[in-house]
Symmetry: C2
Subunit: 149 residues, 2 copies
């Protein structure tokens, strides 16, 4: 692992950036091409195209083919939580509550490292579950958070 302490794969990061970009710049009448998303979020075109397709297939974002087609978010899309994006891209398997990946580790019988990280990660995941695309975008509009992506 070149960069320890990463909590998300590149793919998830890219997907989150792309969806956030769509939240800010697209709507049903203003679709955005994959190649036009690629540059502002700083992700290779072919790579983000593939991810967008997968997100679309799973209903996280919307898309339209042909002229004036592209990707966009409708109102329903905007209500998805961030964890939905991660699940589509990275899979949905068990979230490993234990730092050492021990099967028999839990709050009652914690492994030695448990208290060093367990609670934090749990909180982080809950944050991803509780935060919608729309809410994130709102932070940007209210200048509580900043670009570029």
């Amino acid at each position: 692992m070149k960069t320890p302490f990463q909590m998300l794969s590149n793919s998830s990061k890219y997907a989150l950036k792309a969806v956030l970009y769509l939240a800010l710049h697209s709507n049903e009448n203003n679709r955005i091409l994959a190649k036009n998303i690629s540059e502002p979020i700083n992700v290779p075109k072919a790579y983000i195209a593939k991810l967008l397709q997968e997100l679309s297939r799973h209903g996280i974002i919307s898309s339209a083919k042909g002229p004036h087609g592209g990707f966009y978010l409708n109102d329903a899309n905007r209500l998805h939580s961030l964890i939905d994006i991660v699940h589509v891209v990275d899979g949905k398997q068990h979230m490993e509550s234990c730092l050492l990946s021990l099967e028999d580790c839990n709050e009652d019988k914690p492994c030695p490292l448990h208290k060093l990280a367990g609670p934090f990660r749990a909180k982080f995941i809950r944050n991803l579950e509780d935060t919608t695309i729309d809410e994130l975008a709102l932070d940007l509009k209210n200048k509580k958070a900043f670009l570029p992506l």
Copy 2:
């Protein structure tokens, strides 16, 4: 990424488990063979052997060749912090304070995801820096934490 939200590589986890095992069961007069560490911590023999060698080379643990040889911790080894182990195994590069790996993201100008995880990860890393091998082992002795590894 099969299992998102992992904060440590397998190698780091294995190394932590091995060192912890040595903290509990070894000393200068009681060295332990790589193959005898492998089983109790549940890590393939060849894999843990390689990691132990690297830890030894960096002075995190001690070793002796030949008959009655093996790996062990001396008093100095026991004072190393957990982060030292991670650094040896996963490298020491920048700890990516930003969830999205953005270069220009910081507390003052946070990215939209920053507040969802940044503080937690920082705290976790600080915990790894502030905790020594010995302290972790103590938790086990005091039944504040549990095995098996």
